[in-house]
Structures are given as structure tokens and as C-alpha cells.
């Protein structure tokens, strides 16, 4: 209940009663209010203290007493300190600190404040109070009031609450911390777990440590033998880091101690640090450390590292933290251990992998090396190690002359390969080089440089340029291993790495392994190649063996191996792998049959000579050996067949046999022959002495054996021939040459026979003469025959010569003389005479004669032989008269006047006379031969005489004909000349007056001029026309007379040329056309033929009667003649006139209509017929005309 406060009505305004009333009211109010107030004051739970302006306590209610556990009076503010209160910081209240005092000061209320009080019973408590000033009406301070409540319990509970809460909070915080730590730990653990390497772990730990512990720096060191090596650090300056890279475990530094003692070391103050590590350098950039935490990393009591945390400001290391740190350390330790294990494991695994890789490479390499192509194998090997194991791989070999030859060079990058090749080319390796392949090849020791130092490069390169290039390759390590086979170094395998890769010991060993395998493989390859070559060679030999070889095995005789000759022998195509018994033809083959026998009988080795019938009767023979094969277990395992073709030998043998038979028969024949032909057979020894007797000699010559031997054979030889014969014989024997001689040998009957002696040396096997064998042939008959033949030959020659003379000689007298001479000589006459008739100029005949063997004077006195009995047969041409002795002939000596030979006549006994008859049968003359001896002329002479007589006849005939021809020719020439002269003169003399007439007529016309009457003029024209015609006719006669008598020579011509020329000479008008067909080639006199063509073509043009005259000229061969045709498209000629037109001066039209001499065709006819040809025309009226003629294709050489 609020005390009501009614604003006082201003007193002034009130009057007595009212005033009283007001006062009463106010008293009631006031008392009521007072009562309220007292109630309030009494019952209020809050303590109320009211003071006046001086600070004297006016009111203090029961609550206040209760709360304060007493009360006290205060008269002024400064007494208020009996009421004890404390500030938060424990300092006691001054009286003015009270809110009531403050509000009195400020005259403003102070809202709720808390006070910590000490009650009057000395217990402590809390109050919550507010104070307000009491302000009078005028605003002056009248006092203050403070209302407060005891919140001690509240406070206590609040404090309790707070405590609980803070406890809770602390616990929560703790839990959070734990959780955080746990999480952190987990993170750390996880991080450690994730970290695989020790470095990672160390890093994790140090990083976390810094986080977790709030360390300013952390380090993790790991123990390596006696040293602690820094693995990771956080927050440490680089320059300080240096000193912690490696710490000796015996050093007297905290870390070392921890490591040694395996105890956590906590240095929580600089003093401790200094005490522990007086030597430890100033860290953290000059700032001193305040605390260090060093934890050992241990596993099962073995310390393998330390963790160090440094703090600038020493943290309060609670045990929890410590534990945490230890846990972390443990984790770290375990992690590190694990990492180590892991590392080891990984290293092991890597190593294992590397090893596996190497093994696989090795396996690959081995597989590669298993190829027998050594080159390919090496290349594959190189490829298998590059780039997996190494960057470069090279294989070199030692050449037979001790130089290095590079076989293989492999690198991933072909550009580098090219570069290396170029390098090698520029600086070729030499066997003298101290390092590398050369060294290995020389010494057989391996060479390994795990790290190529620059100095090494310098020693291995040849000059600065080389060095530069080598450096450019960035080679880091190399290994060279020798390739050995049978203890001999034949090559080297080189591995080189670049960049970061290095060749480890394992790599080196691997290279060695590889090298040895490669070497082995190469060796194998080489051996294999050699073996293969050898095998091929053997196979070749086998296949090409001159014998047929086959191996069969098994019961079905399977052909294991058969060479080509064998297959050819069987003729069944390829046999290898097939059983012999499979084919009928094979089974019955003669070479196969014994196989079966062998298979059955199991005999060792059969040798046969077999005949294999050939296809066309050419049998072949074989020497066949069947050799059973024995397997290692001594079982019969098959048969080898060797068949040697002995056909040639067999054939040769057969031939020899035949030959021997032949020889035997020939010998017999020879013997018979010798017996038949040779008269004598003899022998002599090598020295030419006749020792053995010769029955035939003795038989022939009648000498005795004793006479014959020791050179006695000479006595049988004609004395004149002895010397020569001996000479020849001695010479032949001396030269061991064949001997030949001719001599006369005395026959038994004393006559000599011509002998041809021949001797041949017989040579022994050593090439020396063993003996001479000879035979003599009686050639008497031969000689005689030769004589006769010679005589015949001579006669023939003479006859031949004579014949030639006769045929060449056209002079009669010379001919006759030749004949006479020949016949006289040949018949052996002492003289011969030829009487012959000639015709004189008058046609009378008279006799001439030639003589041979005697001068003309011997007969000049005698008259011609007349028709006597002796001469008659000759002059009448009856036949040959041959008388051995004319004087004894019955016909002789019957005619007067001499009755025999005229006195002084040469004596004639042998007489031979033959008539000379011409072809016509006329007796031209007679040949008379005589000899003063009788019987000189034999049948041969007679035949000769007859033959010669015939020849003489021919010659005489020819001569006569020739003379006749000459005479005729001369006559003809003379006639021609006369004719020419005549024609010339005629033409000139006849033409001259004509010319005169023509001119005079013209002049008359001129002179008369215009006075000439038309008729007169016309007459004068006619006159001149006639003159012209006459001239043409005269010319025609001249031409005709001359026609065909050109003496041009024959030429080989193509007729079309001749015709073309003729056409040109004729000059046809342009509208006309002359077509010339294909013409044969002729050998003729051109001018004459041309004349003919010109005439015919000219005629055709002249008589064409049309502008477009068409003329065709053609010629064909007709045996020895040619037939020419000139056809036109003119009016044609009626058959009635076909003959007439050829006549001289014949025209078909009146000359007044067509001016035409009519000579042309007659000229043509004359010329053609003069050559032996023929002319004719083929035509019908209106159908054009074809003029034809024949001409000899090759003209005789005629003189016309």
C-alpha cells in the first residue's frame, strides 16, 4: 500500500474550520499513513534504514536488525563504519562508500548494489540494497533511505552455485582439455599413423608439440649409432639449427642426457637450463629460453631418439600435460618405431622389388638371350634394362685383332643415342684407354663407379671438347662387367645412369649376373650357329651326296631320312616320314626289295648290285649297301641304304666287253686285210735293225732268211733307190717317227715292182719305242694308173684350155690354129693339118688349112687333098679314119696322080683323120694327123680327135656366125647412116620451099593489105594452111624414118617415171587428167619408150573431144614382157578401124577437120614392133579407147 500523498492544498488558502478539518484530515491521513508506514516498516522483509541529512539513523526496521544481527545507531555518516562491509578486493568500506552516502551526495538514487558485510555477530554475509535520497519540498536533502535485503544465503547459494559451476566448468574444461588433448592425440596419432617416414613423424610431432604444448620450438632427433640426428624441427632458426644437426650421444647436453638416461627432463626455468646446459647456445633468436621439455623416444627400453620442446615462457606443466607429453612421446616413439619398421620394410620391399625387377629383367634377358640370333638377343637384353634399371646400356666386343667394336647401344631417347654415336665417332674408344670398356676387356675385371666424379670424367675424356660433351650427358654412375666365355674375355657390358639414379652394389652384381648370362647365351648362340652351320653343311652334303642314302626304321619301314638322289631313284616324290611299304611301286622297287629281306632275315649288311629299269630302256645300275642300324641298346633299329650309281661303270664295262669283242673281230679282220692288201709285213727293233724274219718278204723277193736279215733286205731294193731308202729309214728311226719310202723292189722273177713301204713305231707304256712295225704295198699298178690318169688329166686340161680359147676367140683362123695345135699335141702326132671350107664374098667355097707340128713350107707346094679313097670318108663326113700304117691300107695309093703321097711329102705311117661337121650337118672341114711311126694313134687319140673336131666345128660355126653378124651390122649401120642423111637432107630441102611459100603468101597478104578481097584472103589462108600441113607431113615422114633408131643405152627405170616425163612433155591442158598406175621396173632404152608413150598420150588428148579428158596409163608384167595400156574417155574407135589406124598417114577424120598427120600410131607400131612387141587397140565407139602394147622387160643388148 502506497502511502498516499495528496498534494497539500496550500495552507494559505484554508480557513479556520476548513483548516481544522484539513488538519484533522491530515492527521487522520498522517496517522493512517504512519500506521502503514509502521506496518511496512515492521513487516517488511527488507531492511530499511532511514537517515536524516546528517546521517543519523532515523529508522531501522526489524528486518534490518535481523539482517545485521543487531543494530547500531549512528548520528553521522562517519559513524556508518560501524556497519562493516568490504569491497571486492577485501578492503573495508569507508562510510562514504555506502550507497546511501553516495545517494545523499548525488541526490540520486542508487539502484541495487551488492555488499559484502560483516554482521555484528562477525559473520559474513551479503546484502542487496538500494538507496534513495529524501528530498524536501524545496529540494533540499532531508535524508536518505536505504532498503536492503539479506542475500547472504542467496549469495552463498550463489557462491555455492558459482563454486559448483566453476567446479563444473573446471571439470568441463578439464574434460574439454582432455577431449582436446585426446583429439589432439588422436590427430597426432593419426598424423603419425599417416606419416610413413620417420621424417614425417618427426615433423608431425614437432609441429603438434608446438601446438599442443605451446612450445616455441620443437625438435626431433633420431639416434643413429652414437649420434643423434635431427629429423625435424619447428621454430628453430637456421643458424641455430646447425648445431643440432648432429649431437653426440655422450655430449653433456640435455638431449644427450635424456637419450642416455631415458628420462623425461623438464627444465622449467632459465636457471635450470643454465645449470643443465651451460653450453647451450642462445636460442630463439637471442631470446632466452625459460623452459625446456625433453622427452626420450624409446621402445621397450631402447632409446632411439629425443623430442625437445622449448618454451620462451615456462608453461605450468601440469601432470596432465606431462602425461600428455609422455603419451605424445610414446606415440611418437611408437610411431617412429613403426616408421622405422615401415621404412625398413619399405626399403626391404623396395630392395625386394628391385631384386624382383632385376630378376624379372634377368628372366627377360635370359629369355631374350635364349634366341639364337645373338645380335637380336643382345639388343633385347639392352632394351630390357633400359630405362628400368639404367639409362644407358652398351655391349662391346673384342674383335679378333684386339680392337673394340660396339655391338649394342641403347637409350630411351633416340636423340641421345645419336649424340652418343657421334661422340663415339669423334672419339673412338681405343683398347689402350685406362678406364671403361677397354680396361675391362684387357684385364677381365669389372669396373664400377657409383658416383662419377668430375676428376674421373677428366681422366676418361680425351680433350676439353670431349670433356664438355661428356659432361653434357650428365652421367652419374657406371658399371662395366666383362663378358666371359670359357675364361676368355670376349666383350663387355656397360650400364650408365644419369641424373639422380645411381648404380648400387646390387646393380653391379646384377650387371655381372646379366653379363655372365649374356656371355653364356652369346657363346651358346655362337656355338649353336656353328653347330647349325655344321648341321646344315652336313645336311647339304647328305642331300647332295653322290650316293642315294635313306634310313628306314620300324616294322613298316618308315623313311626317317632320304636324300634327294634316293627320292629321284624311287621316283615317287618326297619320301621322308612315309613308310616304304605304303606304296606298291616302292615295295617292288629293286632297291627296296632287299630291305624287306634284311628286315626279315636280320643279316648284317647286304651288298647287292641291282639294275633299276629306266623309263625308256635306259637301265641304271646301282651298287647298294644295306646296313642295319643298331640303337644304343643294341637293338636292331632300322636300316640305312646306300646306293651308288654305278651305271656308268657297268655301261663302261659292258662297252669294254663289246669293244674287246669288236677288237678281236677287228684284229682278225685287220689281219685278213693286211694279208689281203699288203704284200709284205715286216718288223724291226727300236734301233732299226731287222731281226725278225718276214715270210712275206721272203716270198715276194725270193731272198732267203739269211739274205734278208742284218740289212740284207737292201739288196732286194733297186740300186738307184737304196741310198734314199736307207736315208729315210735312218731318219725315221732316229726320230722315232713314222717311216715312209717308195722304191723299186726286185721280184722273185727279177722284175721290179713299185713298193710303198710304211713303218710305224710302237710305243711302250713308258713312251719309248719298243719296235717298228711295217708293211709294203705293191703300187706298181697304182703307178701305172697314175700315169694313165696324168695323161688323161693333161688331155682334159688341154681340151679345157682349148674350149676356152675356142669360145673366146671369134677369129676363125686363130680358132682353127688352136684346134690343130691341140689335137696334134694331144694325139701325139708329129704333124696335124686342118682343112676347112670357107665361103668367099661371091659365095664360092675354097679351102684353107692350118698346120701344126710342121712349118707351112712343108705343105705349101702340095695341092689340097682331094677326094681320094683315103680322104673321102673325111670330106664326106662319114667318120673317123684311123690307120696304124697308111701305107699298108688297102685304100691307099689308088688315086692319081700320086698314087700315094706326093713326092716330098712328109712320111706318114700312122694316120688319123676326123671330119669336122657343123651343127647343120654340113662338113666344114677335116682334121688330119700323121706320124712317121706306125701305130702311134690309139683309141684314145681317136676319141680325142673326134672330140676336138666337134669343138672345132662349133668354133668355126661361131666364128662364121660372128663374121656374118658383123657384116650384117655393118650393112645395117651403113643403111641407117644413109637413111639419116636422106631424112635430114630431105626434111631440110623439102621444107625450105615450103617456108618460102608460106612467107610469100603472108607478104602478099600484107602488101595487098586492105585491098585484099575477102575471098582472096581466104584463099591465101588456105594456101598457108596447106603449106603447114605439108610441112607436118614431111616432118612426120622424117619422124617415122627415124623412129626406133635411137642408140641410147638401156637403163633400169621405173615406168611411172618414164610415163610422167612423157606426160610433162606432152603438156596436157589443165582440165585434162592423166592418171598413172603402178608400174613395174624395167631395163629399157628410155627415149624409145618415151616416144611411144608421148604419142599415145598425146593422141588421147588430141582426140579426146572434151575438156575433161581422162587418161589412164597402166602397165603389168607378163613374163619377160610388160603390157602397157593407155585408155581414154574419148569418143572411142569402131572395131572396123582397129587395124587401119596403125597405117602410115591414116586418119579417121578428114585433115580439114582435124589437123592430124596420121603418123603417130604408125610410129608407135614401128618402134614397138622393132623391139619385138605388139600393138593393138581395144575400143568401141562412144566408150573411149585403150591402146595397148607390149615391150620387153629387159631389153637385149642389141645394136640397132
Amino acid at each position: 500500500m502506497r502511502p498516499t500523498y495528496t498534494p497539500p492544498t496550500p495552507i494559505a488558502e484554508l480557513s479556520g474550520q476548513a483548516l481544522q478539518r484539513e488538519l484533522e484530515r491530515l492527521r487522520i491521513l498522517a496517522s493512517r499513513d504512519r500506521g502503514l508506514l509502521d506496518a511496512i516498516l515492521e513487516h517488511s522483509p527488507h531492511g530499511i534504514i532511514i537517515c536524516d541529512a546528517a546521517g543519523r539513523f532515523v529508522v531501522q526496521n526489524r528486518a534490518s536488525e535481523r539482517i545485521w544481527a543487531g543494530s547500531s545507531s549512528a548520528t553521522k555518516v562517519s559513524d556508518w563504519n560501524v556497519y562493516r562491509a568490504f569491497h571486492e578486493d577485501g578492503t573495508p568500506f569507508r562510510p562514504e562508500d555506502w550507497a546511501m552516502a553516495e545517494c545523499m551526495r548525488t541526490k540520486r538514487p542508487v539502484a541495487a548494489r551488492e555488499y559484502r558485510i560483516q554482521r555484528f555477530d562477525d559473520s559474513f554475509g551479503y546484502l542487496l540494497g538500494s538507496s534513495a535520497p529524501i528530498i524536501g519540498r524545496e529540494g533540499e536533502l532531508e535524508g536518505a533511505m536505504s532498503v536492503f535485503a539479506d542475500i547472504t544465503q542467496l549469495k552463498e547459494s550463489e557462491q555455492q552455485n558459482q563454486r559448483l559451476q566453476s567446479e563444473l566448468g573446471r571439470r568441463v574444461q578439464e574434460l574439454e582439455q582432455i577431449a582436446a588433448r585426446a583429439a589432439l592425440l588422436q590427430r597426432v596419432t593419426a598424423a603419425i599413423g599417416n606419416a610413413s617416414t620417420a621424417e614425417d613423424i618427426a615433423r608431425v610431432v614437432t609441429t603438434f608439440g608446438s601446438e599442443v604444448f605451446g612450445a616455441d620450438a620443437s625438435l626431433c632427433l633420431v639416434r643413429h649409432d652414437d649420434k643423434l640426428r635431427l629429423m625435424a624441427s619447428v621454430g628453430v632458426h637456421d643458424d641455430e639449427l646447425a648445431s643440432y644437426r648432429e649431437v653426440d650421444i655422450q655430449a653433456s647436453v640435455p638431449m644427450a642426457r635424456v637419450a642416455r638416461e631415458n628420462k623425461v627432463l623438464w627444465l622449467s626455468s632459465p636457471a635450470e637450463i643454465a645449470a643443465e646446459a651451460p653450453m647451450s647456445p642462445a636460442l630463439l633468436g637471442g631470446h632466452g629460453l625459460e623452459a625446456k621439455l625433453i622427452l626420450p623416444l624409446q621402445d621397450e627400453g631402447v632409446v632411439f631418439g629425443v623430442l625437445a620442446y622449448w618454451f620462451r615462457h615456462a608453461p605450468a606443466l601440469l601432470s596432465v600435460r606431462r602425461e600428455f607429453a609422455e603419451t605424445v612421446a610414446l606415440q611418437c616413439a611408437q610411431g617412429l618405431k613403426r616408421a622405422r619398421l615401415f621404412e625398413r620394410e619399405r626399403r626391404a620391399r623396395r630392395s625386394l622389388q628391385a631384386q624382383q625387377r632385376r630378376l624379372s629383367i634377368l628372366a627377360q634377358a635370359s629369355k631374350a638371350l635364349s634366341t639364337l640370333d645373338s645380335r637380336e638377343a643382345l639388343a633385347q637384353l639392352a632394351r630390357s634394362v633400359v630405362p628400368e634399371l639404367t639409362d644407358w646400356c652398351a655391349i662391346d666386343e673384342k674383335t679378333p685383332d684386339g680392337q673394340i667394336r660396339r655391338l649394342i647401344l641403347e637409350h630411351r631417347d633416340p636423340a641421345k643415342l645419336a649424340f652418343a654415336a657421334e661422340l663415339d665417332r669423334r672419339y673412338p674408344p681405343s683398347i689402350e684407354d685406362p678406364h671403361g670398356v677397354a680396361n675391362v676387356l684387357r684385364t677381365g675385371e669389372r669396373e664400377w663407379a657409383p658416383d662419377i666424379s668430375d676428376e674421373l670424367l677428366v681422366t676418361m675424356t680425351k680433350d676439353a671438347e670431349h670433356l664438355r660433351l661428356a659432361r653434357a650427358l650428365d652421367l652419374r654412375s657406371y658399371a662395366v662387367v666383362p663378358l666371359l666365355a670359357h675364361g676368355r674375355v670376349f666383350g663387355a657390358l656397360t650400364l650408365v645412369t644419369e641424373g639422380e639414379r645411381r648404380l648400387s652394389k646390387e646393380d653391379l652384381e646384377f650387371a655381372e649376373e646379366l653379363g655372365s648370362r649374356a656371355a653364356l647365351a652369346l657363346e651358346n648362340a655362337r656355338l649353336y650357329e656353328t653347330a647349325e652351320a655344321a648341321r646344315n653343311h652336313l645336311h647339304d652334303i647328305f642331300m647332295r651326296a653322290p650316293a642315294a642314302i635313306a634310313i628306314v626304321r620300324g616294322c613298316d619301314l618308315q623313311v626317317e631320312l632320304a636324300n634327294q638322289p634316293y627320292e629321284q631313284l624311287m621316283g615317287q616324290g618326297p619320301l621322308t616320314g612315309r613308310p616304304i611299304l605304303e606304296r606298291e611301286q616302292l615295295r617292288v622297287h629293286p632297291v627296296v626289295a632287299p630291305l624287306l629281306e634284311l628286315a626279315v632275315t636280320r643279316t648284317p649288311k647286304i651288298i647287292r648290285e641291282l639294275c633299276v629299269p629306266g623309263s625308256n630302256g635306259s637301265d641304271r645300275y646301282f651298287h647298294v649297301i644295306y646296313q642295319p642300324l643298331r640303337s644304343p641298346s643294341d637293338q636292331d633299329d632300322g636300316v640305312t641304304t646306300f646306293a651308288f650309281d654305278i651305271t656308268e661303270q657297268v655301261v663302261a664295262r659292258q662297252r669294254i666287253e663289246r669293244l674287246m669283242a669288236e677288237v678281236a673281230s677287228r684284229e682278225a679282220r685287220l689281219k685278213a686285210l693286211v694279208a689281203a692288201t699288203a704284200a709284205i709285213v715286216w718288223t724291226a727293233n727300236a734301233r732299226g735293225e731287222v731281226i725278225e724274219t718276214s715270210d712275206t718278204w721272203l716270198e715276194f723277193t725270193g731272198q732267203s732268211e739269211a739274205e734278208y736279215q742284218n740289212g740284207g733286205f737292201l739288196n732286194a731294193i733297186h740300186p738307184d733307190d737304196r741310198a734314199k731308202t736307207m736315208e729315210l729309214w735312218t731318219a725315221a728311226v732316229g726320230a722315232a717317227a713314222p717311216y715312209g719310202a717308195e722304191y723299186r723292189l726286185r721280184r722273185r722273177d727279177g722284175t721290179h715292182a713299185y713298193m710303198l713301204a710304211r713303218g710305224m713305231p710302237v710305243f711302250g707304256a713308258d713312251g719309248t719305242v719298243q719296235e717298228y712295225v711295217g708293211c709294203n704295198v705293191d703300187i706298181t699298178g697304182l703307178r701305172q694308173a697314175e700315169e694313165a690318169a696324168r695323161g688323161h688329166a693333161e688331155a682334159l686340161q688341154t681340151l679345157n684350155d682349148l674350149g676356152m680359147v675356142i669360145s673366146a676367140e671369134l677369129d676363125r683362123d686363130k680358132c682353127v690354129q688352136a684346134v690343130t695345135d691341140a689335137v696334134t699335141t694331144l694325139t701325139g702326132a708329129s704333124f696335124g693339118a686342118f682343112f676347112y671350107n670357107v665361103l668367099d664374098e661371091q659365095g664360092g667355097s675354097y679351102m684353107l688349112y692350118t698346120l701344126s707340128g710342121v712349118p707351112r713350107e712343108a705343105f705349101s707346094k702340095f695341092p689340097m687333098p682331094r677326094n681320094t679313097a683315103v680322104f673321102a670318108p673325111t670330106f664326106t663326113g662319114q667318120g673317123v679314119v684311123r690307120v696304124d700304117d697308111i701305107t699298108k691300107d688297102p685304100r691307099y695309093g689308088h688315086n692319081s696322080p700320086h698314087y700315094g703321097m706326093p713326092k716330098g711329102h712328109l712320111p706318114v705311117r700312122s694316120y688319123l683323120a676326123a671330119p669336122v661337121t657343123s651343127r647343120s650337118g654340113e662338113v666344114i672341114g677335116g682334121l688330119f694327123l700323121g706320124h712317121d711311126r706306125a701305130s702311134v694313134f690309139d683309141a684314145r687319140a681317136e676319141t680325142l680327135a673326134v672330140g676336138l673336131a666337134a669343138q672345132a666345128a662349133v668354133a668355126l660355126d661361131n666364128a662364121r656366125l660372128f663374121a656374118e653378124a658383123q657384116r650384117l651390122i655393118r650393112a645395117l649401120e651403113s643403111t641407117n647412116r644413109d637413111l639419116d642423111q636422106f631424112a635430114y637432107v630431105t626434111s631440110h630441102d623439102l621444107k625450105a620451099p615450103l617456108r618460102g611459100i608460106s612467107s610469100l603468101a603472108a607478104w602478099i597478104e600484107e602488101d595487098l593489105g586492105v585491098t585484099l578481097a575477102e575471098g582472096t584472103r581466104e584463099k591465101l589462108q588456105l594456101l598457108r594452111g596447106r603449106v603447114k600441113r605439108l610441112e607436118a607431113l614431111i616432118q612426120g615422114i622424117l619422124d617415122y624414118s627415124r623412129a626406133g633408131r635411137t642408140d641410147g643405152k638401156r637403163e633400169m627405170l621405173t615406168l611411172d617415171k618414164v610415163v610422167a616425163e612423157s606426160v610433162e612433155l606432152v603438156s596436157p591442158p589443165t582440165a585434162a587428167e592423166v592418171a598413172v598406175g603402178e608400174m613395174p621396173i624395167v631395163v629399157v632404152e628410155r627415149v624409145a619408150l618415151q616416144q611411144v608413150f608421148m604419142n599415145l598420150i598425146g593422141n588421147a588428148l588430141k582426140h579426146a573431144r572434151r575438156e575433161d579428158a581422162r587418161i589412164n596409163v597402166s602397165a603389168t608384167e607378163l613374163g619377160s614382157m610388160i603390157e602397157c595400156r593407155v585408155s581414154d574417155n574419148g569418143p572411142g574407135i569402131a572395131p572396123a578401124y582397129h587395124e587401119r589406124i596403125w597405117g602410115i598417114f591414116q586418119t579417121l577424120e578428114a585433115r580439114d577437120r582435124v589437123e592430124n598427120t596420121g603418123i603417130g600410131l604408125s610410129i608407135v607400131k614401128k618402134i614397138v614392133e622393132g623391139r619385138g612387141g605388139r600393138v593393138w587397140v581395144e575400143s568401141t565407139e562412144g566408150q573411149g579407147a585403150t591402146f595397148c602394147f607390149t615391150w620387153p622387160r629387159v631389153e637385149d643388148r642389141r645394136v640397132v
Binding site: R995, G996, S998, A1002, V1027
Partner: protein, 138 residues
Amino acid sequence: MNGRELHIVLVEDDDVDVMTVRRAFEKNRMTNPLHVASNGEEALELLRSGAVPQVRRLILLDLNMPKMNGIEFLKHLRADPEHQSSSVVVLTTSNEERDVVEAYRLHVAGYLVKPVTFDNFVDLMATLNKYWTLVEMA
């Protein structure tokens, strides 16, 4: 032309031919003095008589003449040292090769075959005259 005229000696037996030449000369107004001999003998006499000047003379020679024909005359002419260099042109009807050859062998300056027609003859003479006039002037 200018007093140095060419003397023409015509050796021809046929009167008509002589007339032909004369007419031809008239036709062409050729005023050259024309001397005529009817055969070779007369011609030689004429030349030797001196009636014809030595130089500037042209002999037109026919071949077929009595007593001494043209060829014979030529031979004599060429044998005569005084007259051997005289220019001779054969003017004849003969076209026989042997005549031509022989004439040229005797160094004639030309060989003309007399055509029968007069007009050609006239042209021939005119040409001759012109030619010789030109030649003489050179």
C-alpha cells in the same frame, strides 16, 4: 645509130629466106647495111673483098647451101686469121644436134632455128638487132 652501124652479112642461098630477112629488117626499121652472099664461097669472097668493115660486122649464116655449106664456111672463116674473130650467128632450119654441136665448136655466137612463120622471124630479127646494138655499145 651514130654512124657506127653494125654491118650484117647474110649468107643464104634461098631467095625467099633473103626476102624474109629484108622484110624483117624493114618491119623493124633496121637500117643496118645488109650484105648478101648465096653460099660459103661467095661469102668468103665478100668478106675478103673488104666490102664489109672488119669490126662491127655480124654474119648470119645459113647452113644448107650449095658449093660450100655453112659449116665448111665456118671452118674456113675460123682458119682465116683476118676474119676468124668475126661474130657469127647461125640462122638455119636445121635443129640437128650434130649441126648445133659443130657450129658451137666453131665458136658461133648463137644458133637460131628458123621458124616457118614470118612474125616470129621478125621478132627474132628485132631481138637480134637490139641485142647486137647493146653488145656493140659495150
